[in-house]
Symmetry: C2
Subunit: 406 residues, 2 copies
């Protein structure tokens, strides 16, 4: 449990100004995060808890869907990037090293995953397979902005799949959408997050797919089909809107923020690294299809914060709140009984912030305010008054408070 | 559960040669890890499981002891390093960035943690406190060697504590040793890991303390007092050995590998960043004592691998083995019943590798060998023969096998 007396998270008196979104200011003011430099943040205990909750939901759903977790390197040699011609990407950090070497700090991981998986994918029997990792990534951005939404250092889940059959790939790719929808549901943004058709970029003639959460500060504009709810990034809509799925002409046009994307990579990277396999007749085949599937974990934290702003703070979805329970203790005498309940709750897999700060500055009003600021869904109060009534006060989000007898 | 049919971890026919230790060759041959470049490794599913198990034990014990988890940045600006004069450290990677900037890829985190914590430590009431994080670190090593033991990229737990009272600091520092001992116990190396007095380095006139695991390949020599078991790094023993604790003259001299260290930092970093607080009389005091407490998580994986080598593979301690159970399935028909048991075990917080690979190559011998290779402590076999006997065969490490009826 987090005992606030041992980590005195104070809040800043004034809110740092972040031009293009409101939530970053709140995250900074309440010490979820602290700016190390523009686009780079340290996560303090309350912020790290939110980040890890998001990460763990993503991980659980990837595992459930049969993706294998790995952990790929952050720095790499130049050789792999030379094979794909991406060494000189503008966002790549190039790091001089002893021995006249130069390394990359990886902004993405195709150049790592393909050589790595090539070791295992030499027979048709080894397909299909898919791996992922959750790792920090780095981009040499000219201007970092938008807090967690576009950083120089950020936490990301990347998944990659490998296939030798077109229709099997299509089926896998469609299932990835289902997995992503479940993730966004569990993260509490499902109702406003749309599968969105987008440009395929450099690697495919087909479309790619984004998941876009409707938000006024969103950097994208999407057409949402009124009939089938499929989103379309404005970049692919030429002239009048026609839904690519149900051919309806009716739409809503909304601002939205990208929270995930999936791409067919075709054979772009498998060819670059000469990934080949032996088929059933021992013939060498050089056509391995790949897909890639990204979710920006720290970016998502920023999006969900923005999505969950109330006039009192950030009302985090219960699945990712920094804790499930916030226990306010009024009076030293009541600390033992409150600690006991906290331990009991944690043994039931709940997470507890114990507001055991004492002294004149920390009255009920201050503590209740902090609980609301931090958006913790269940508030418990131990005070002389509640104990007189035989127990503690429980206030669940959206409910009326009640006394729970001990 | 890890289904081997979907992630075909093959083993290399020959063992890569690593000059100064045996375990790295094994870790590479059996695809726990794959070298990205010298000193930089990718973790494949079996290796990542071991790494995470170590990480989670360290995290649980730090949390128990009241350290607050944070996540600090990997890259930083030059300004903080200029304040401590460490920008030009030989192991520091310097990264040119847009806008004529230069960043560090952090080899250590004092320069991050002090400015961060300074925000919260302005009153005497805010002391003592302690934080930690588990993060990748980077060193520009001239020559990377020894596999996971000394890398250019590695995972580390760093903790830092802040104090305003000498004797309170001493008590905290002594307790850190107790926490470390418990961690090494749980990791299965407690019996051969010694608290070891070492040189204080640049920051203190006092000693620092290492935890050293006795290993023939160890890069350090330690004198272990025969009476009180306290280790002494050879670097501090001048002339004849005298135990610094019980004054005994008797010792064993052994090779050992460092698995953790704790340092008094005195006021070196708090002064550099002008960390000051107001005392009870509102007077500004500029003397904040710090301690730092490190454990190299990925290095530990290398040390424990080396420590656990048998003639058949690596017999991982049960607490960190890639799985608790390895289920061998012989015959497609038995897959359903084996999967059901695997699910049941995972619902009881066990972790399962399901060897569901079929085909002539994957007979019982191959699968049983792989189980032993990977050092998984409990082996279960479902085969026509065991089912004839009414169930499955269970073989626990060090025990005789028996049939468990279904």
């Amino acid at each position: 449990m987090l005992r606030l007396s041992t980590f005195p998270i104070q809040t800043l008196k004034s809110r740092p100004n972040v031009s293009d979104n409101e939530s970053t200011g709140i995250l900074l003011q309440w010490w979820y995060i602290r700016q190390e430099m523009a686009g780079v943040y340290n996560f303090l205990p309350m912020g790290l808890r939110v980040l890890r909750n998001i990460e763990n939901i993503v991980r659980a759903e990837m595992d459930n869907a049969g993706y294998h977790e790995t952990l790929m390197a952050v720095i790499s040699g130049k050789e792999s990037w030379d094979k794909t011609g991406r060494w000189d990407m503008d966002v790549m950090f190039h790091v001089p090293a002893h021995g006249n070497k130069e390394y990359s700090i990886n902004p993405t991981n195709e150049e790592t995953v393909v050589p790595m998986m090539k070791e295992f994918l030499q027979s048709y029997k080894n397909y299909p397979t898919c791996v992922y990792h959750i790792q920090k990534k780095f981009r040499n951005e000219k201007r970092a902005k938008s807090g967690l939404l576009r950083g120089r250092e950020f936490l990301m889940k990347d998944a990659y799949s490998f296939h030798i059959d077109e229709s099997e790939f299509s089926e896998f790719y469609e299932n990835a959408k289902v997995v992503y929808k479940r993730i966004f549901e569990r993260l509490g943004v499902g109702a406003d997050t749309y599968e969105t058709v987008a440009d395929g970029g450099d690697f495919t003639d087909k479309y790619s797919h984004e998941f876009q959460t409707v938000l006024p500060i969103g950097e994208d504009e999407i057409y949402i089909c009124k009939w089938c709810q499929l989103g379309h990034n404005k970049e692919i809509v030429e002239g009048d809107f026609v839904c690519t799925s149900c051919w309806s002409l009716e739409y809503d046009l909304k601002q939205a923020s990208e929270v995930g994307n999936i791409f067919p990579l075709e054979t772009k990277f498998s060819k670059a690294f000469e990934l080949e396999y032996l088929d059933g007749e021992n013939k060498k085949i050089d056509k391995v299809l790949m897909g890639c599937y990204g979710i920006g974990i720290s970016r998502l934290m920023g999006v969900i914060a923005e999505y969950s702003i109330t006039d009192k703070g950030i009302a985090w979805p219960e699945s990712i709140a920094p804790a499930t329970h916030y226990i306010i203790v009024i009076g030293e005498d009541n600390l033992d009984i409150a600690t006991k309940l906290a331990e009991e709750l944690e043994s039931q897999w709940k997470t507890v912030v114990l507001d055991d700060r004492m002294g004149r500055k920390f009255g009920f009003g201050q503590k209740a305010g902090d609980c609301e600021l931090w958006g913790i869904p269940n508030r418990i109060v131990f005070s002389p008054k509640t104990l007189e009534q035989g127990g503690y006060e429980l206030l669940e989000r959206g409910e009326k408070s009640s006394i729970v007898k001990l």
